[in-house]
């Protein structure tokens, strides 16, 4: 009764098809630009690695290693070789550790994925709650208090928040262990750090949306019809605030992943972010390139899912609707 049955099956298939095929060139373009930028960055990975290991080396040895890793070829050629390998699901080998990149990913991904998903879920719930309360209780001291709190959380950088939480809950109260990873509860403080800032930003959006929707004519009609407050907020308002929020959430999921780089480093979590940061320092091309591809895929998928959900939620904007006009 509430949700219309999904009847535009054909249209949906077409939508999925066009989105997938328009996404592929975007991803390729992104990997190419990324490859060029990384490739043109000063600093030779072989020399850096050898220096780091503290071995004496000759120019010939360096050259031999460059040939071994394929670094002697022109940049564009290297890109196409990388692409070719990609189709065989071979992401190359890390120069610094000598291990296959795919293996390193499998090792570091679970922590980052868990952290991001947890932070995303908690910031969803928190932002809907905070936004809802501040929108409904406008012009009260509660709303003002929450406004100040969210402004504070929006303005504070995540590294500060991380250090603050560590100082209070790990050092002060001793509830958590300091800079150690091994148990699931070690993810609690990083999750809070990552989600607080995000939910503050998102709750502002939720609040604006609710206030905007509340002044729509159809909400006025819903009130005049004598619907309960619950039906008005739960059905009419909620359904209207969702579409733009979903798009925002999709983008914020991507930036949560990106933001986890800092948090992972502060909390010493062996996740993808830490791996990527180290790879930047070591000019470890293969890892960086894979990380870039991964981030691109995540952004693409998140936006794809968001569009799909919006498509489903706002049936009235489907093209070619056979109306009664």
């Amino acid at each position: 009764m509430i949700c219309a049955p999904f009847t535009k099956d054909k249209q949906m298939k077409q939508f999925v098809f066009t989105r997938t095929f328009s996404g592929i060139p975007t991803l390729f373009g992104m990997t190419l630009i990324g490859f060029l930028i990384i490739g043109l960055t000063p600093g030779d990975p072989i020399e850096m690695e050898l220096r780091r290991l503290g071995v004496a080396f000759s120019a010939e040895q360096v050259e031999a290693l460059r040939v071994e890793y394929g670094l002697n070829k022109p940049l564009i050629q290297r890109y196409f070789l990388w692409l070719f390998d990609l189709f065989r699901l071979d992401l190359g080998t890390s120069i610094a550790s000598g291990r296959p990149v795919l293996e390193l990913f499998k090792e570091h991904l679970p922590i980052t994925a868990t952290l991001s998903v947890l932070a995303f879920m908690s910031s969803l719930a928190l932002s809907l709650g905070l936004g809802g309360v501040t929108a409904v209780s406008q012009r009260t001291s509660l709303s003002t208090g929450l406004y100040v709190l969210t402004m504070f959380l929006v303005s504070v950088p995540s590294f500060w928040l991380a250090l603050f939480l560590l100082a209070v809950f790990a050092l002060g109260l001793g509830w958590f262990k300091l800079l150690q990873f091994g148990n699931p509860q070690d993810l609690i403080l990083p999750t809070i750090t990552l989600s607080l800032g995000h939910s503050a930003v998102m709750s502002r959006l939720v609040r604006e949306r609710i206030i905007a929707v509340m002044s729509e004519d159809y909400i006025r009609l819903a009130i005049a019809k004598g619907l309960t407050r619950r039906a008005i907020l739960g059905r009419h308002v909620f359904k209207s605030i969702l579409p733009p929020l979903i798009t925002n959430w999709a983008i914020s999921f991507g930036s949560l992943l990106g933001g986890s780089v800092i948090v992972e480093n502060i909390f010493n979590l062996p996740g993808l972010g830490q791996m990527a940061l180290q790879a930047i320092a070591e000019r470890d091309f293969a890892i960086l390139q894979a990380y870039l591809l991964f981030m691109g895929l995540v952004f693409f998928l998140a936006n794809f899912v968001a569009d799909l959900m919006n498509h489903w939620l706002t049936p009235q904007i489907k093209k070619g609707d056979n109306g009664l006009r």
């Binding site: 006025r220 004598g226 619907l227 059905r235 359904k239 009664l324």
Partner: protein, 261 residues
């Protein structure tokens, strides 16, 4: 013994609390008896809609009814607790707002929006469904509309969906706030006919708001004239409007004569 009027508006003043309590509607008083069809006319921005919103409880902050009383069946709506007020909404007082284009929720089907209305009128299950079909029939909308979203319907059809809601709710008082805004003359005629059906079937008292004396004449027996937030005159529409009337009334009738309506 004098019977209490259905709706008594006394000295209603609406102010904008955000702008140094600027008065937008000032000291408006009128009565509406059961079964009466009362018009409310005035230029755009004179406070007609605000008066309606105050009665239905749809005034938006920072606009507030700062003084006065709105008695519905003897009870003041403005001081009533929210839970009680909500019971009055819908079946007690229902309002068809202007601009049908934006008055229906864009992403809920007509069926959902009509069925939730039956809940407010304490109809459930099969009885509710039956009431929806009956209402659709009365305003001559085809059943297939039910599975459509508002933007698949024309303006006139949307307005008839609102009329169907009124038929389901059977309100004691029906307020129509410029229900024909943005509709062409033919659709306007159809809408007014549908409104007539609704009023006959439900026996509601009607408060018909418009800036168009011509359609008020077709619908109502007497009319209130508002100007700049005040109620300036009450005219009996069965008698010609006298030349000694208020300038605001004269302006409206004068405009009509010039347009030869």
């Amino acid at each position: 013994m004098v019977a209490t009027p259905l709706l008594q508006v006394e000295n209603l003043t609406i102010t904008n609390s955000a702008q140094s309590n600027e008065r937008l509607v000032q000291g408006v008083s009128f009565n509406l008896a059961s079964g009466q069809r009362l018009g409310l006319i005035g230029k755009s921005g004179c406070g007609k809609s605000l008066t309606c919103h105050a009665i239905t409880g749809a005034l938006r902050a920072p606009l507030i009814p700062s003084s006065g009383v709105i008695r519905f069946q003897g009870r003041d709506l403005l001081t009533m607790p929210l839970a009680e007020r909500q019971k009055v909404r819908g079946t007690g007082v229902f309002c068809i707002f202007q601009s049908p284009g934006s008055a229906l929720h864009p992403s809920l089907t007509i069926e959902t929006q009509l069925l939730e209305t039956t809940g407010a009128a304490s109809l459930f299950g099969e009885v509710a469904r039956h009431a929806v079909y009956q209402a659709l029939d009365a305003v001559s909308l085809p059943k297939r509309c039910l599975h459509q979203y508002p933007d698949a319907l024309s303006g006139g059809m949307k307005q008839r969906v609102m009329m169907a809601m009124a038929l389901i709710l059977k309100p004691t008082i029906l307020i129509a706030d410029e229900p024909t805004t943005g509709l062409d003359v033919i659709t306007e005629f159809e809408t007014l006919q549908a409104l007539d059906v609704v009023q006959r079937e439900t026996g509601s008292a009607l408060l018909f708001v418009s800036h168009d004396l011509r359609i008020v004449r077709q619908t109502c027996t007497s009319v209130l004239v508002m100007d700049a937030g005040r109620l300036v005159e009450t005219c009996d529409l069965n008698q010609p409007i006298v030349p000694s009337c208020h300038p605001a009334t004269a302006e409206i009738t004068g405009a009509m004569e010039r347009l030869q309506l």
